[in-house]
Symmetry: C2
Amino acid sequence: MSAKVWLVGAGPGDPELLTLKAVRALREADVVLIDDLVNDAVLEHCTGARIIPVGKRGGCRSTPQAFIHRLMLRYARQGKCVVRLKGGDPCIFGRGGEEAQWLREHGVDVELVNGITAGLAGATQCDISLTLRGVARGVTLVTAHTQDGSSLNWQALAQGGTTLVIYMGVAKLSEIREQLLAGGMAADTPVAMIENASLPHQRECRSDLTAMEQAASDFQLKSPAILVIGAVAARATTTLWEQGLPAMTADQSA
Amino acid sequence: MSAKVWLVGAGPGDPELLTLKAVRALREADVVLIDDLVNDAVLEHCTGARIIPVGKRGGCRSTPQAFIHRLMLRYARQGKCVVRLKGGDPCIFGRGGEEAQWLREHGVDVELVNGITAGLAGATQCDISLTLRGVARGVTLVTAHTQDGSSLNWQALAQGGTTLVIYMGVAKLSEIREQLLAGGMAADTPVAMIENASLPHQRECRSDLTAMEQAASDFQLKSPAILVIGAVAARATTTLWEQGLPAMTADQSA
């Protein structure tokens, strides 16, 4: 039997946003390597699996990635059903692509299972439609995390006409504001900041680009939080879509 | 009892990518209004609900949006549990935001349930990681559909440094190529075109920005399909992330 690892998205926090495929993986799992941001409630689907936390705990440094790789490999080679459980979607800021590649290079089969990413869930729970006809024809998900070697063109992001959803941005509000203003984004562009997306203790703070840092401070916004920047984040979207829309005659749903 | 409608994402096609919350909504439903792109297999979770197709069928014009609104309202006011089932995620090119707003203005409670959107699922099934450290710090989802009144800044999209995922683009490949080339995107930027994302008959065609129209023609690519444009769509990503990455010492999963 060939070794196999499931790289599974646990969704944004609400255990009901788990997919049926993720549930099946957890049921079959012998070993579950679980990230810090995953809601433990999803583990109710496990049937006797060994649970190994591999995320950051209580301010400690996180488990080295290489160690996680070796753990997955060891258990997979023992013939165990290994599930690597990540918050949100494994391939949206989740390193799923890297882990899959590494495992395959070491002869391990990989099955990736998508999850609902926190940015989408948080916006939806705040009644923000990230795309909206006549207002936003697209959405851009980015991370403000800067230890990544790749570069973001903030000026282009400011001008793209898509709603911006920024992950891991709480500590970078000042920098984000300056970059987007410099890129030509309007100072009064609406902003929603959503803490603990999709969980019962979700909190939302609305502001605009200029004031968002002060608003977050007053609100005592904490990580993990999602920023939604764009017209759709305005409190009252009714006028937006009523004014901007062509006549409602065709169903463009997809 | 107040009237209520569930606006539910059915996911990209694979019935196992349905969320547990969507399953609950379908189980409780008295009436299900189902879009064309939804896989009928998810209806197995219904327990006696009346199923009403409201999408395009066999080349006919789609059901007028206003008619769908009135149907939802009528059944909700009768006290029925109404589920409006959409392909993918209801708020990613799905009109969920508009429908929710309209229903609330008519005194109907709305519960939105996220789904896995086709762009993410298609990429994952082709082993493309839409975000990848050192390569792509974000992803932009846009629709090429132009009956929308909003404008896209293709030049900015070409320069943003995010992976582009384009929905409803099969008939617009020539226009997309010209706009992105004009915006400064490299002619050899890798492109993946994914038909029937996440379904057993999913097909993928790899090419690059210059050649994608010819490649799609040779491949006889058909809608619905997803375009993934960016370095992560290259066939061999190993070198990409190995060359571009900082040392793997910290777990940045989220």
